[in-house]
Chain length 288, copies 2
C-alpha cells in the first residue's frame, strides 16, 4: 500500500533532512480547547509538521453536528498560517468515505485534522471506510501528519472512551467503551483530563484494558507521537501517563455496575511542555 | 508518658484478646460525607474500635463554624450506637486547649472524633495545645482510637493541604499547604478525592513533598490505619495511594505560580473496601 512519493512529498523529505524536528510527520493528540487565537502553539506545530507553506491539509469535522462552522474555522486558521491548500472533507454519510474526490485529495494531503464533537459520531461515519483506512495507512507509514482534538483525540486508539461521567470513585458504570479508529492502537486516550476530573474514568477503562497505555491530556495540551516512538508534550497543561504493565491486582472481574474498582501497582507520570515519554523503554524523559 | 491502663481499658484489652479485629485501636481517616443515616459502616467501625458499649468518646467540632450543631449530631449518632459516654470537647479558643476538665476527659476517653469544617481553623485552635498533644500521644501509643472526617482527615499528616482549587493541570498555585496535627506524620491526605477532582492538587503537593505518601480518600470512604502499620479500606468508594519514593524527576524547583508541574515515575494504587496497604513494605494487598 506504500505510495510513490509525490513531488511535494519529496520536497518535504528534502526539507526534513535539514530541519527534521520542525517538518517531520507526527500524530498530534490534543486534549481539546487548544489555543486558536493567540500563540496557537499546538495548531502551529501541526501546520509545520504538515509541511508549513507547502502543507496540503484536510479538515475532517465529522465529529461535530456543526461541521460547516467548525470546518471553516480551522480552514481559516490554517490558511492564515500560510498553507498551500486547505480543504474540508465534509463527511456526513458513510458513503462519502468512498468518495473518489476525497480519496484523491488524501493522496495529495500532507496533514489531516480531526475536529472535536462526538467521538461515536466520528467513528460511526468514518471507521473502516476506504477514506479513513487510507488516512491511517499513510499516518502509520509516516507519510502524513495527523492531528485530532477532543473527540478527534479520543478516537486515536483501537479502544476508545466513548463517554462516561465523573465525580465518583472508579467503577464500571463510569465509562462507556467503544472501538476507536486505531491510528495508534496501543493507547487509550482521555481528553480535557484534569479540567473535567477524568482520572476515575480513565482508571475504570484501564482496569479492563491493562495492556493499553492510558494517556490523559489536559486542555490546550498535546501529546505528539513522533515516528521514533517517543511522545513529546506541547502546550500549556500536562499529559498524564498511566502504565499498567506492572499491575499486580484488580477486582474488575468481580465487580459490576457502580461497585468501586480497585487497581494496584500502576506507574504514573505527569509530563509538561517539552518533556518526552519513550514508548519503547516506557521511561519518562526530563526536559534536556 | 504512657498511662497506667484504667479498669475500662483493661476490660477493652481483655475483650481485644478475643476479638482483636473488632476492638483494637486504629486511626480512621475519612474522606468526608460518611453515611450518618443508614448502614453507618464507617462510624460504626469507629464506635467498635473505640470500645463499643464501653466506649467513652470525645467529639471535637472545632473545625466547624457551627460546632454546637455538628457536635450534637455526632453525639446523637454515637449514643444511638450505645456508647458508655459521649461528650463534645467544644474548643472555640486556644485557651480551652489547656482546660483541666477536657484534659481529664481525654484520659478517660477511648475514642476521639474530629468533625469536618475548615482544617486551618481546627489546627489554629488546637495544634500544639496540651489537649491535642495528649490526644496525639495516646493515639500514637495505640491507647485510643481517633477518627477524622473531611477537615478532620486533612489534619492527620505533619504537612496538610489547607485549600486549593481544581480543574487545572497540576501547578504550585493549585494548592495551599500548612502544618497539620501530625497524628500520622508520614502521610499527606486529600479528601472528597474523586468527587471533587483533587488529583491535580494532591500531585501538586506531592511534587514538593515526595517523602510523603499521598492518600486521596473518596467520600463515605475510610483509610483505617492499624497499629501493625497497615491501612485497611472501608466504605463505598476508593482510597488512592500515590507513592513518590521512586520519583525520577520533577520540574517543581524550576516553575512557579500556575506553570504546570511535571512529576515522573510515581506508583499509583486504587484500593477498595477490605483491601489493604502495608506501610512497611509499600505493597497494596488484595482482598483475601
Amino acid at each position: 500500500m506504500l505510495q510513490m512519493p509525490t513531488m511535494q512529498n519529496r520536497e518535504t523529505q528534502l526539507q526534513s533532512s535539514y530541519t527534521p524536528a520542525l517538518t517531520k510527520t507526527a500524530i498530534l493528540v490534543i486534549g481539546g480547547a487548544e489555543d486558536k487565537v493567540h500563540g496557537r502553539e499546538i495548531l502551529h506545530t501541526f501546520f509545520n509538521r504538515s509541511g508549513g507553506s507547502e502543507a496540503v491539509i484536510g479538515i475532517i469535522p465529522s465529529a461535530s453536528r456543526e461541521p460547516t462552522i467548525i470546518g471553516d474555522r480551522y480552514v481559516q486558521i490554517f490558511e492564515e498560517m500560510g498553507t498551500k491548500y486547505t480543504k474540508v472533507l465534509d463527511v456526513r454519510d458513510r458513503d462519502q468515505g468512498n468518495d473518489s474526490v476525497y480519496l484523491d485529495y488524501v493522496e495529495e494531503c500532507t496533514g489531516i485534522f480531526l475536529t472535536g464533537g462526538d467521538q461515536l459520531r466520528l467513528c460511526g461515519l468514518l471507521a473502516e471506510t476506504p477514506l479513513m483506512d487510507r488516512i491511517i495507512t499513510r499516518a502509520q507509514n509516516h507519510e502524513i501528519t495527523v492531528g485530532g482534538t477532543s473527540a478527534g483525540a479520543a478516537v486515536m486508539g483501537y479502544h476508545m472512551i466513548a463517554g462516561g461521567s465523573s465525580g465518583e470513585s472508579p467503577n464500571r458504570s463510569l465509562v462507556d467503551m467503544a472501538m476507536g479508529l486505531g491510528i495508534i492502537p496501543e493507547i487509550l486516550v482521555d481528553q480535557h483530563f484534569h479540567n473535567r476530573n477524568r482520572l476515575a474514568r480513565l482508571l475504570s477503562a484501564i482496569a479492563s484494558h491493562s495492556e493499553l497505555l492510558g494517556i490523559g491530556i489536559d486542555e490546550d495540551t498535546c501529546a505528539m507521537f513522533e515516528s521514533d516512538r517517543t511522545i513529546q508534550v506541547l502546550g500549556k497543561g500536562t499529559v498524564t501517563i498511566i502504565d499498567a504493565r506492572s499491575m499486580s491486582y484488580t477486582n474488575q472481574s468481580q465487580v459490576k455496575g457502580s461497585e468501586p474498582l480497585s487497581i494496584h501497582n500502576l506507574k504514573l507520570h505527569v509530563l509538561c511542555h517539552g518533556e518526552r515519554y519513550d514508548l519503547n523503554s516506557h521511561q519518562a524523559l526530563p526536559l534536556k
